[in-house]
Structures are given as C-alpha cells and as structure tokens.
C-alpha cells in the first residue's frame, strides 16, 4: 500500500471514521515507517490544538451597535413598492396616452395626404442616416486598405485584452464573486 493511502486513513482517523480493522493496519504501518509516524504526530498535534481552542467573542456592546446600524425594513419595503409603481406607470402611461392620441387625432392621421407626407419624411430621414453610415464605413475601408498594418495592431490589442481579462479574473476570483450566492440557499 502506498504512503498516500495511509495519509488518507489518517484523515479518516482524525474524523473518527476509520474502521477498527483499518486502524490496526495504520498503527502497524506507523510503527514501521518513521516519516508517516512524524506526519501523524504533526496532524494530531494540530487537531488537538484546534479542538482545544475556544471561540473568540466580540466586544460587549457588539449587539447594540449592530442593531443601531440595521436599516428600516418597513421603509425599504415601501421604497421597493414605490419603485415597482413607477415601473408599472412607465409602461401604463404611454399606453393610455397612445390610446387617447389615436382617439383624438386618428381621423387626421387617416387622411391620405398626411400619411403620405409622414412616410416620405421617414424615408428621407432613413436616407440621410444611410448616407452618413455608408460614408463612415467607406472611409474606414479605404483607410484600412491603404494601411494594412492596422490589422496587426488590432490583433495586438485583442491579445492584450484577452490576456489581461484572464489575469483579472484570476485575481478577483470572478466565478465565485456573485453576491447572490451567499443568500440564495
């Protein structure tokens, strides 16, 4: 049997979960193997120290000071209710206004002349946006074709972002940082 397996048995022994038969096996190994015996002594010394060390208590007025810092739950509930009401009205009010506007101005909008000019004005606006966007992309394309080295820079920048985001994720332990985790059980 490997030393590692005896170490596993030591852990079970510390947790009081080692069967009598295995306990004898471990004891006879410890008598024959000084390194394992030293490890066992160190493990039991730590175990005994931790088990004998009492809990630490906070200052005498800790509870009063914590109580004084508690927010008002009733106020908080009221605030959350108010936010929900605002959100609800932000959806309902435009609906009501829309219905009123259609009822009030529906007849005017339905005139063929008005509708046509509205659509024409919309089409003109889209045309202007299209011209601006195509000019921008055209200029960008021309710039890239004249300066192909820009692609190299682009790759360098992307590499930089990927490497540093990896470093920061490691540092901040991002997969474990979700605040909801602590209270979601």
């Amino acid at each position: 049997m490997e030393h590692e397996e005896y170490t596993l048995m030591m852990m079970d022994a510390l947790d009081g979960e080692l069967a009598a038969e295995q306990r004898q096996l471990l004891e006879s190994h410890l008598r024959a193997c000084p390194p394992c015996e030293r490890e066992w002594q160190a493990l039991t010394a730590i175990d005994a120290l931790f088990r004998q060390t009492p809990m630490l208590a906070p200052a005498a007025d800790f509870a009063q000071r914590t109580l004084a810092r508690l927010p008002n739950r009733r106020y908080r509930a009221w605030l959350i209710g108010a936010i929900y009401a605002v959100l609800l009205f932000s959806g309902v009010l435009p609906l009501l206004f829309g219905t009123w506007a259609v009822r009030r101005y529906g007849a005017v909008i339905n005139e063929p002349g008005v509708l046509r000019s509205l659509l024409q004005s919309l089409a003109h606006t889209l045309e202007v946006i299209g011209t601006v966007v195509s000019a921008l992309f055209g200029a960008m394309g021309q710039f890239i074709s004249e300066n192909p080295i820009i692609f190299g820079w682009l790759f360098v920048m992307v590499g930089f972002v990927v490497v540093w985001s990896g470093v920061y994720r490691q540092l901040l332990g991002i997969p474990n940082l979700s605040p909801a985790r602590s209270v979601s059980r």
């Binding site: 002594q41 208590a57 509870a63 109580l67 509930a77 332990g173």
Partner: protein
C-alpha cells in the same frame, strides 16, 4: 414554533428588537468566523455587522428548511472571502509587492482599540490559519469550531462534499508541514490511532 422561528417571523415584519435577539444568539459564532478568516478584530467586527445587516435586509430569501445558523455562517464566510480577494486585487492593482500573509491582516493596521488581546494559544492558531489559502481556511474553521459535517460545510461553501474533503485533506497536510515551526512537533512515546 420555537423561539427562534418567532423572532424570525417578527423580524420579517420589520421588528428590529426581534432581530436583536437573533444577533445576541449568533454574535459569538459570526464574529469568531470573521476573526478566524480576517485575523483583524476591527475588520472582523465590521464584517460580522455587515453579515447581520445583509441577513436582515434579505430575510425573505432565507429558506426555513435550512438551519438559520448555517445561513448566517454562509453569509459571513462568503462575505469574508470576497473581502480577502478584493483586498488582494487592490494590493496587486496598485502595483506594490505583495506583503507576506500576516502583514496583510495585521492588527497594527488599525488603532489600538481594534486589537484583541489573544492568549498564546490563540495567537498560534491564528498564525497557523494564516498559512492557508482562504478557501482551505474556511473549511478548517467550519470543521473545527462549528463541528459541521462535510455535508453541512459543502452547503455553507456552496460546493461539493468531495471538494470539501480535498480542501481539508490539503489544509491538514499543509498545517502539519509547518507545525514544527510553531513548536508543535510533539513526540509521544506510543503510537495510537484511537478515535
């Protein structure tokens, strides 16, 4: 309905005094956990208070199927771990060399009022705990001071039982490796594995 459930019910309705009873009941375990994790009395008190405030504002998310103590310990230990990681990220981001572990949590950083008079035994225990990475330390503290089973520790730390076993295994070996430096190399004459 026991006393604790009555306090919880009243606290949910906004009764601060009822939650005060829960603070009285759990302040010891919550503060002890924060201190073992952070190794600084001032920060530990701040973290313990923050844990109670979080619990109070999120009482509606507490599932009564779990023990309230487990829920409180979970909030406290996760808050402490986040604090340690943020503190480390901050230290690295300001481009300073990383100080050794004990200096990271030194009591000297706070005023004398933040210090806690510790016995030699408590000092040794704290120094040993600071040798461990925070997630190993968390598992060790929950195992030894709260007598939680592997299942319960996994529940508090939101991970699997096998992950907890592996962390405790490595933590104990790591502690055994450094124990000689703390004068803990006791050498009894007989070898006994009696539980």
């Amino acid at each position: 309905m026991n006393e604790e459930q009555v306090w919880l019910e009243q606290a949910r309705k906004g009764d601060k005094a009822a939650f005060g009873q829960l603070i009285e009941a759990y302040q010891g375990p919550v503060f002890n956990l924060a201190y073992r994790m952070l190794n600084n009395a001032g920060e530990a008190e701040e973290a313990a208070q923050e844990a109670f405030i979080r619990a109070y504002t999120r009482l509606e998310t507490y599932n009564p199927a779990h023990k309230f103590s487990t829920w409180m310990l979970s909030i406290t230990s996760n808050y402490c771990i986040d604090l340690i990681r943020k503190r480390r990220a901050l230290l690295l981001s300001i481009d300073e060399p990383l100080p050794p572990h004990p200096a990271l949590h030194s009591d000297n950083a706070k005023g004398p009022e933040a210090q806690l008079m510790l016995s030699e035994q408590q000092e040794t225990v704290q120094a040993l705990l600071q040798e461990l990475p925070e997630d190993y330390r968390q598992a060790v503290v929950l195992r030894y001071w709260y007598d939680l089973s592997y299942d319960e520790i996994a529940d508090v730390m939101d991970t699997s039982v096998s992950a907890i076993k592996s962390r405790l295994f490595r933590a104990r070996r790591q502690l055994a490796d450094v124990s000689a430096g703390f004068g803990l190399n006791a050498q009894p004459e007989t070898v006994s594995v009696a539980a």
